[in-house]
Every structure is written in structure tokens, then in C-alpha cells.
């Protein structure tokens, strides 16, 4: 049995370093770092699509700024760290720590000490549990009016001459716009390299606004998302379309007790009174004599939850949701965030090793191309060998193809999709069995499938598409078989079939971390005050705002 993929990639990087000796290009450092880190997930999209809001919702804290005007102008990386920190990295590579403070609007902020054009990126360290399994990258908006901004986003995510720095991408759309399609196509092209993987998903963002804040807005959004999923252009570029009301999710996940109480107060009003308040955002804030909530309080609620959010919260409370944690949970679910996270968890984070390896090897190829060195050809062969082992990549490709044009497998198509992880990458998911199934039964089903598919692969009626599909399915089954036999133990819930326990001890944390990523529970403000971390700055806000 061969070495685990991660180790193989490590070996290749070591070899590369040895070959270059003292002249190693700087990117090699980043590749080594990349291998040691969790999956790099970028959030991209048109300007004001709601990227930072979604990021805050996923992280569960208001780390990113989300004002009315265009906010994120720089690529910002969020990694897990034991203490909070913000550093700005200049184009020349120098990195400077910056002090953080909390802005009046409630999010965290810092002041740039450089002109925006001199900055390469901002790096944030934050002790959020969600960041243990993923590195989040917030990007500036596409189609921005500031000329540099769009360039910075595309330059990072879909650079002309290099492989992208992200392993996977969540792309936020409000509507299908040519700028969106152009961008997704460019990303796919650079990400694909030679294998055409589609590791992007689309989010139909600000889903609550699609219905003008009416109570059935999310229903409308679902319909739109379904329709977009069928769009032939989008299908080729993304694995699915998820409607998400980001503001709702962010508000729910970071809800404070006093906010809950404010919402409860509103829920307790008579219907006409509440509806009078909800006629418009202005009226909600302005009208007097209807509620005891003050103007500032109401303004804050409106900007934190939006008209739809307030409406939904009130109706949920009236329907019997008892407390803040329950409200948070239900609102988060309805916002669509749960479904999105489940998918990301299953298809991207669950395939971390392979996706990372794929990205790293792609960059390494380009590096060798741009900086030739003796002995490179052997290294290149090594890269090819490891690439061939990245079955996750082939699986994703197959899943994508299934969506675009089908696999030509007729009645067996659903089973094929399931086996390659379309409904979850855990072994039991792939075999269509319960999570608690015993290893013996898993093995039995596995062998059945393997025999069946091997037999079917000889069918002369198979066209080229079907032949390719069979190859990938059989390979997956064989690796699963290897894995089960080698370990001869309980199946893991969240591992990739290729090569066993890549993440080591982190594996057992995975499942716990998965729960933590969506931890329910209102934030009661503990630990959020900047002064607890001794980093309060009295400087006024100037320039870039952030996390």
C-alpha cells in the first residue's frame, strides 16, 4: 500500500526545495504552509453580494465589516489562532501587526497604515472554532466602481499566469450577470488546470430581498435558485445553487440577548401595530407611540436583521419559539445557511486532502515551468503520479458532468452519483446505508457493488461517457475496499477514501469541529469586548474597515 497522499505531497515539496537549494522561489514557502493548513475556501462575488456577511455567519462572529458602501477592498485571510490579530502584508512582502478596535456599528475594525495599492493582503487570526477546519478568504467585489478592486479580486482568484490560491470557492450571486459568468468561467479555467475540476458552488445571496421582504421571500428564492441550477452556463461552472439570506444568518448566529428581547417585544405587539412598523425600514425606525423600543434600538435591529428578519423572528416567536438559542437555531436553518454548510462540509472539507493536494501540485507545476531547474523532469513525473491518485478530483469532475450532461448510465446513474460522494463522502453515505451500520455489512455491500460495477463495465453498449464513469466509480469502490480492509475497523464519518488518515489527530476533532461550526447559542457578548484583549485603539476610523 502506498504512502498517504499528504505524505507524498510533502515528499515532493521537500524534493523541490532540495533541487532549488538556496534559490527556492518564495512560493515554495507558501506551498508548505498550504499543505499544513486546512482547506482554503474563498468567498467571491459581485460587489455587495453579501460575502462578508456570509463569512460572519459561517464564523459565528462579526469579524468582517459590512457597511452600506463598498467595504472589502482587499483580499483578507481568516485563519484560526489562539488570540486575535490582524496583520497587513505589503506587496514587498513585509508584514505589520495592526491594533484592532470595535467600530460603532458593532463589527471589528482596524486602520490601514499603507495606501491600498501597496497592500497585497490582510491576514487575520481569530479564535473561532469554524476556522479550525477551513481557511476563509474574503475577497473584494467584482464589477466594483473602484478600478483596483475588481482587479484585486480576479487577480487573486483567477490569475492569468498561475493557479489560484484557493482550493475551492463559494460564489455569491444576486442575479445572473455577465460579469458573474465571466468570472466563474475564468476561475474554472485556472482551477481546472488540465483536469477541469469544478470546485465552485454558487450561492443566491440576499435571498430575503428577492421577495421584497415579504414573509414568503425565501420560498421565492428557492424557486429562483432551482431555476438557476438548470441554467446551462451556470451548471458548467458550479456544483449547485444555494439560496441564502446572509443577513438573517449573521444576525441569528450573533444574536445578543437584548436583541432577542427586542424581537420578543415586537412579537408581542398587536398585528396592525407591527405591520404599521414594517411598512418600510424608515417607518420601523421612526414611528413613535407603538412600541417601547427606542429609535436607536430599532435602527440597530433593522440593520442587523432587515425587514424580513424582523418579520420572521416575530412570527417564529409568536409560533412558540421559547428562547434565544431556539430562535437562533430556527432562523439559521431557514436562512439556508445550514444546507450550504452541510454541502461545503461534505463535498469540500470532506475532500480536503485531495483538493489541497490538487491545488498545491498545480502551483508546483507552474513554479517549475517558470523557474526551471535541473532534475525538474523527475519531479514532474512524481507530480503526475500523485495527481493520478487524487480520486476526489475525478469524483467532483464526474459529479459536475452528471449535472451538465448526465453520465449515460441510465438506471444506474443515481447509484453512481452516490458512490462518488454526491450525497456525502462518508463510506456509509456512498453505499446508501445508515451511519451506524456495522463494518461487516458495509463490506458486504461494498463487495456487491464492486462486483456489479465491474461486470457492468464490460457491457459493449457503454458509450465513451459511460466507460469513463465506470472507471471512476470502480476506482472509488476499490479504494474504499482498500481502506476498509487496511483499517479493518469502524468507518470514519468524515474522511476521504483515498489514502486513510491524512489529517492525523485532527481527524477525531473533525466530527466535534463539525458540530462546533454550527454551534447554536446566542452570543451573550462574552469575550467580544476588545479591551479584554488589550488591543483597544483610540484612533478614529479611517480608511479600510475590518474584522
Amino acid at each position: 500500500m502506498s504512502v498517504p497522499v499528504e505524505v507524498a505531497v510533502r515528499d515532493l515539496l521537500d524534493t523541490a526545495r532540495a533541487l532549488y537549494g538556496g534559490d527556492a522561489p518564495a512560493q515554495l514557502d507558501d506551498l508548505e504552509r498550504r499543505l499544513a493548513e486546512p482547506l482554503r475556501l474563498a468567498i467571491a462575488g459581485i460587489v455587495k453580494a453579501g460575502k462578508s456577511t456570509l463569512l460572519n455567519a459561517i464564523v459565528g462572529e462579526r469579524v468582517a465589516a459590512t457597511d452600506a458602501g463598498e467595504c472589502t477592498r482587499l483580499v483578507t485571510w481568516y485563519r484560526h489562532a489562539t488570540t486575535r490579530s490582524v496583520s497587513v502584508v505589503a506587496r514587498d512582502g513585509t508584514s505589520t501587526r495592526l491594533p484592532i478596535h470595535r467600530a460603532a456599528a458593532g463589527h471589528f475594525a482596524f486602520d490601514l497604515n499603507l495606501p491600498v495599492d501597496d497592500v497585497d493582503r490582510v491576514e487575520v487570526g481569530w479564535p473561532a472554532p469554524a476556522l479550525k477546519r477551513v481557511v476563509l478568504i474574503d475577497t473584494p467585489g467584482i464589477a466594483s466602481l473602484s478600478p483596483g478592486t475588481t482587479a484585486r479580486a480576479t487577480g487573486f482568484l483567477a490569475p492569468d499566469e498561475a493557479a489560484p490560491a484557493a482550493d475551492a470557492i463559494i460564489y455569491l450571486l444576486r442575479r445572473l450577470h455577465p460579469a458573474d459568468m465571466r468570472f466563474l468561467a475564468a476561475f474554472r479555467d485556472t482551477a481546472a488546470g488540465s483536469s477541469r475540476t469544478v470546485n465552485a458552488i454558487a450561492v443566491l445571496s440576499r435571498a430575503d430581498e428577492i421577495g421584497s421582504g415579504r414573509i414568503d421571500s425565501l420560498l421565492s428564492a428557492s424557486k429562483v435558485a432551482r431555476r438557476y441550477e438548470l441554467d446551462e452556463h451556470l451548471r458548467a461552472l458550479a456544483l449547485g445553487v444555494f439560496p441564502v439570506a446572509g443577513l438573517l444568518a449573521e444576525g441569528a448566529r450573533t444574536m445578543r440577548q437584548n436583541e432577542f428581547e427586542g424581537l420578543r417585544e415586537l412579537a408581542g405587539l398587536a398585528r396592525e401595530d407591527r405591520e404599521a412598523l414594517l411598512v418600510s425600514a424608515d417607518r420601523f425606525v421612526r414611528l413613535t407611540g407603538i412600541t417601547t423600543l427606542g429609535t436607536d434600538e430599532r435602527r440597530a435591529l433593522m440593520s442587523r436583521f432587515g425587514i424580513f428578519g424582523v418579520r420572521l423572528a416575530a412570527s417564529l416567536i409568536r409560533a412558540g419559539v421559547p428562547d434565544a438559542p431556539a430562535l437562533t437555531s430556527e432562523m439559521t436553518r431557514q436562512s439556508g445557511l445550514d444546507d450550504l454548510v452541510e454541502f461545503v462540509d461534505g463535498q469540500f472539507i470532506g475532500r480536503t486532502v485531495a483538493l489541497k493536494a490538487h491545488g498545491i501540485l498545480e502551483v508546483l507545476r507552474v513554479l517549475l515551468d517558470q523557474h526551471p531547474v535541473d532534475g525538474a523532469s523527475e519531479l514532474e513525473e512524481g507530480i503526475e503520479r500523485v495527481s493520478l491518485r487524487l480520486s476526489d478530483v475525478d469524483e467532483l469532475t464526474l459529479l459536475s458532468r452528471a449535472r451538465i450532461e448526465g453520465l449515460g448510465l441510465g438506471a444506474r446513474e443515481d447509484e453512481a452519483i452516490r458512490i462518488v460522494g454526491g450525497h456525502g463522502v462518508a463510506v456509509h453515505d456512498r453505499l446508501g446505508m445508515d451511519a451506524g451500520a456495522e463494518p461487516i455489512r458495509l463490506r458486504q455491500r461494498l463487495v456487491e457493488r464492486l462486483d456489479g460495477w465491474r461486470a457492468a463495465s464490460h457491457d459493449p453498449a457503454n458509450d465513451r461517457r459511460a466507460v469513463e464513469a465506470h472507471e471512476v466509480v470502480i476506482r472509488t469502490l476499490e479504494e474504499l475496499h482498500e481502506g476498509l480492509r487496511a483499517r479493518g475497523e469502524e468507518s470514519r464519518s468524515v474522511t476521504s477514501p483515498a489514502g486513510g488518515s491524512e489529517l492525523g489527530p485532527a481527524d477525531t476533532d473533525d466530527r466535534a469541529a463539525a458540530d462546533v461550526m454550527l454551534s447554536r447559542g446566542p452570543r451573550d457578548g462574552a469575550g467580544e469586548d476588545a479591551h479584554e484583549h488589550g488591543e483597544q485603539s483610540q484612533a478614529h476610523l479611517r480608511g479600510h474597515q475590518l474584522p
Binding site: 452600506a68 464589477a143 466602481l145 450577470h177 479555467d189 421584497s212 421582504g213 421571500s217 421565492s220
Partner: protein
Amino acid sequence: MGKTAEGTRSDSALTRRQRRELDGSGAAGPAEDLLRLVDDLAAMAQDTKRDDLVQRLGTAVERLRSPNTRVVVVGEFKQGKSKLINALVNAPVCPIDDDIATSVPTIVGFGPRPAASIVARSGDEIERHEIPIDELAQYVSESGNPGNSRHLLAGEAQLPRAILQGGLQLVDTPGVGGTESQSALTTLSSLSTASAVIMVSDASQEFTEPEVQLLRHAMRVSPNVATVLAKTDLYSQWQDVQDIDRRHLREIGEVPLFAVSSNLRLRAAQEQDRELNDESGFPALVAHLRREIVGRAELIAVRSAVHDLGFVVAQMELAARSELSALLNPEDSARLLAELDRAKARSEEFKSRSSKWNVRLGDGITDLIADMEHDLRDRLRRVQREAEQAIDEGDPGPIWDQISQWLDERIASAVSETFIWTEERSHWLVEEVAELFLAEEVEIPLIAVGNTDGVLDQVQRLPGFEPGHLSAGEKIYIGVRGSYGGVLMAGLATGLIGLSLINPLSLLAGVLVGRRAYREDAANRLNRRRFEAKNIVRRHVDEVTFQVAKVLRDRLRVVQRTGRDHFGAIADEMHRSLAEATLAAKQGAGARQEDDKKRIAWLRGHIQQLERVKAELPALPPATAKDVVVR
């Protein structure tokens, strides 16, 4: 002809004006007085059998009654255009839906009863079919007519609404920024035939780059551009967005911005809630429509009418005065006849094909057509070269979708540029021709004829035709635009519908070029793919060049025809007036004593009537540069 102007001056007139201001309707005061004058004059022209003058007056009446003011509402997808129009007319005429968008332009205008029709092409003709108004959505929205697969040119609706009464037409358009390049071009062309453009952007975010691009384009082809910030009821931060947008607008030019909520307006109308109506922001928008758009169109119509009236009076007076002068001063008749003959001869030249203005118009259009074709070819050739380069750099198979989309966009951009530039040039040409016309015309003064006391008048110059007033150019331009508007909008759209059917890129591409790259590709298979890809591109670019050039050429020919008809009509009238005056003078000279007295009395009465009309003509209201030239 028309009835006399309605109503008399009284208290009710005040409330009527107030009401008009509230709902933005109705013709202005001066227009009503003018209508009466026009009627009087038309009756007199009828009597003297000057049907050509009667026709001129008829057109003036039409324009006074309802100066056709088309306002095109544009914007990106789902920004709230359709709802805005519905809110302005307080009727669910444009289909709205959370998901589905407008797919066909819809023109909403005034009508005594609610009615609707669809406009389609049938061969070379345009056909109009009436449909029940509640079925309109089926024809103009994506759900009922996806991608305009029914190939309609437009939908039309008429509603009995006060705001539409002054001739205002609101045009709902499909959103720009779609993946179809021709929708952008159709919208652009409809912008140039509109009196005003309103771009709608919702308050969820500041202007995007494509929106600003659209604004810049609009400002080059339309004299009157405004922006609307929609959906303010939904977004608590709309004022911040408004401030940001205003900053962006300052860099573009003088473009007003109106923050509104259609939802609040519709609700206010339903509940008769004045406060809610104020909050909706609509009063400011309606006032703007009334004053800057409809008001300006009315002003132009009034100027036009005053000018026409003066012109007609002068012409009618010429015959009468010539005859009278011949009768009263027979010894002078020889000189008079000679002058009239000379003037008549010059006017013959003036209306001929060889007159300077006519030659300039014809040559100018010919040159412009040539320049346009050159520009188009040049731009598209550049695009083709870039495409070929891209094809040579990689394998066109796997990236065909990208190439095809990129090509589509670049072509749309190139065609838009040529269109806008041609549009600007044609405006300048029309102005140049107007100047030439003026200059030539000034050489044909209407002849000095003796008044009843035998004292020579000053040379009568046509009122309002002083050079430097720009009134002629303005009038001509408005006339040109008004007449070729509807035809061209249909014409260009038909050309483009033809375009959409010819899209070999998507149809043939998959088959010929192939989408898959095999790892073990033979070099010659790749070369063949490249060759095929470049062929497809070349054929497509050729086809586009051909189609677009044809459409733009037709458009320019319409400009030429309209210009010729417009100026030609004036020249013809002048010629006819001079011919009649000559004849009248001859008759007067050869008349016998006994018929004299009766005839003289009649002529004096006739002239007095005309003088009365002239005296009542208001002074020409001032023009602003904005009405005339397009920046």
C-alpha cells in the same frame, strides 16, 4: 380640424392647474390659446385653398395636444423598472414577479379605455394586434414569452390616467446586463429615439460599474437623463447609498437622482394616504417628469407652433398684400412683379435637389454611411483578430463557451460604439443642414409690399428665423426625431431580431469544434480544431458586420428622408406662396375698375384678420441649449 380650446378663464382654471400639478397631467395654458389661433388660421387657409398650409397647421395641433414624449426606463435586472411604471400609473400594467423579468419593451400611453396590443413584424411590415390588457403579461414577460421567442417588437398599453394625458409615454425595457448581447443594443437604440431616459437602480447597493457605463452611454445619445433609486422601503441604509450614488453622479455630469419606493406609492394610492405618498418620494419624481420632461416637450411644441403660425401668416399675407398693392398702386406693379418673379425663381432653386442644403444633406449622409461602415468593419476586425489570437494560443475545444461568450460581448460593445458615434454624427449633420437652410432662405426675403397707406414696409423677415436663435435647428431636430422615432425603433429591432437568429457560435460550435480535449491529442487534430474555430468566428463576424451595417444604413437613410421631407416641405410652401403672390399681383394689375372696390374691401378685411392673428401670437418662449443639441 380641432375643436376650440376648452373652458374659459375662471376660478375653476386655478383648481385645474393645481390638479394638473398634483397628477402631472394636461396641456399648459399657452397651448390652449394657441390651439384657438391655429383653428382660426386653418379656417382661413382652407378658404384660400392652401392645403399645404392646412397640413402644417394640423401637425402643429397634434404636437400641441399631445407632444409625444417617450420616456424609456432602463436598468439592470430586477431593479424595479416595471414596478416603477406601475406605481406611476397606478395600475398593474407591467408584469412583475420575484423571479421573472420583462422580455419585450412595453410602451404605456394614454387611452380613454384600458387597452393593449402587441406589435410584431410580418415580412417587411409592422402589424399591431389588439389583446385583452390582462393578457399582456403573457406576451411581454419571460414566463409567457421566454427570450422573446414569439419575436415581438413591443407591447403597448393604453390607460385612462391623468399623468399620461399630456402625451407622456413610459417604456418598460428588458434589463440590460443579461447574457444576451443584443438586448443591450436594442435598449441603446430605443434610448436615442426617446425624449428622456430614466435609469433605475435599487437602494441595496451603490452603482455598479455596468450601471455607470449604461449612464454614460445614455448621456451620449439622449438629451435628458435622470436616475431613480428604488426600493427605499426595504433598505434602512438607503440614504447612505443615495449619498454615495450622488458622489458618483457628480463625476458623470448633471444627472438628478430621485429616491423612491414603488411599494409605498402603490399602497398610498390604495389607502389614499397623503403622508405615505410623500414618504414614497414620488412627488419629486412626478414633478420632474412634469417639468423637465413633459414640460420641456410642451415648450418645444409651443415654440414650434408659434413659429409655424408666424410662418403661415407671413405666407398668407404675401398673396393678399401683393394683390392689394397691385390694385392700389398700379404704377408700381411692374417693379413688384419683377421682384416677385426674382424671388420665385430663387425659391425654385431653393427647393430643388441642387440647393445647398439638399446637396449637403445627401452628401453628408452618403459620407456618414461610408464612415459608419468603415468604423464598424474596423472595430469588428480588431475583435476578430483578438479572437484568432486566443484560439491560436490554446485549444479552442474546451474553452469554446468562453470564447463564444467573450466574442459576443466584444461584438456588442463594438457595435454599440459604432451606433453611438454614428448617432452623434447624424445629429451634427442635421444641424449643419439646418444652418445652411437658414442661410439660403435668408436670401429669399418675402417681398416688401405696400401697406394700405402706400408706405413701404420693411422687408418682412420670417419671425423667429433670426440666425443665432437656434430655433430652426431645434424645431427641425425635434421634427426629425418625432417622425423617425417609432419607425426606427421598430426597424432596428427587426434588424436585431434577424441577428439573434444567426448565431452560429452556439449552434454549430459544439458539433464542429468539439468540447472535449483528449489527453492524447494528435497535433493535427488540434490544428484542425483551430482552423474550424477561426472559420466560425470569421463567418460570424462577417454576418454581424453585414447585418448591423444594413440596419445602420437604413437608419441613416431614414434620417435623410425625414430631413429632406421636413426642409423640403418648408421650401415648397415658400415657393407656392411666392407663385401665388405673383399670380395675385398679375391679376390685381390687370383688373378692371368696377371689380376693384369690392375686391379691395375684401382684401383689406382679409389682411386685417391675419394681422389680428399675428398680434395675438405670443413671444417666442426662450429655448435652452439642452433642447437642441445632444452632447
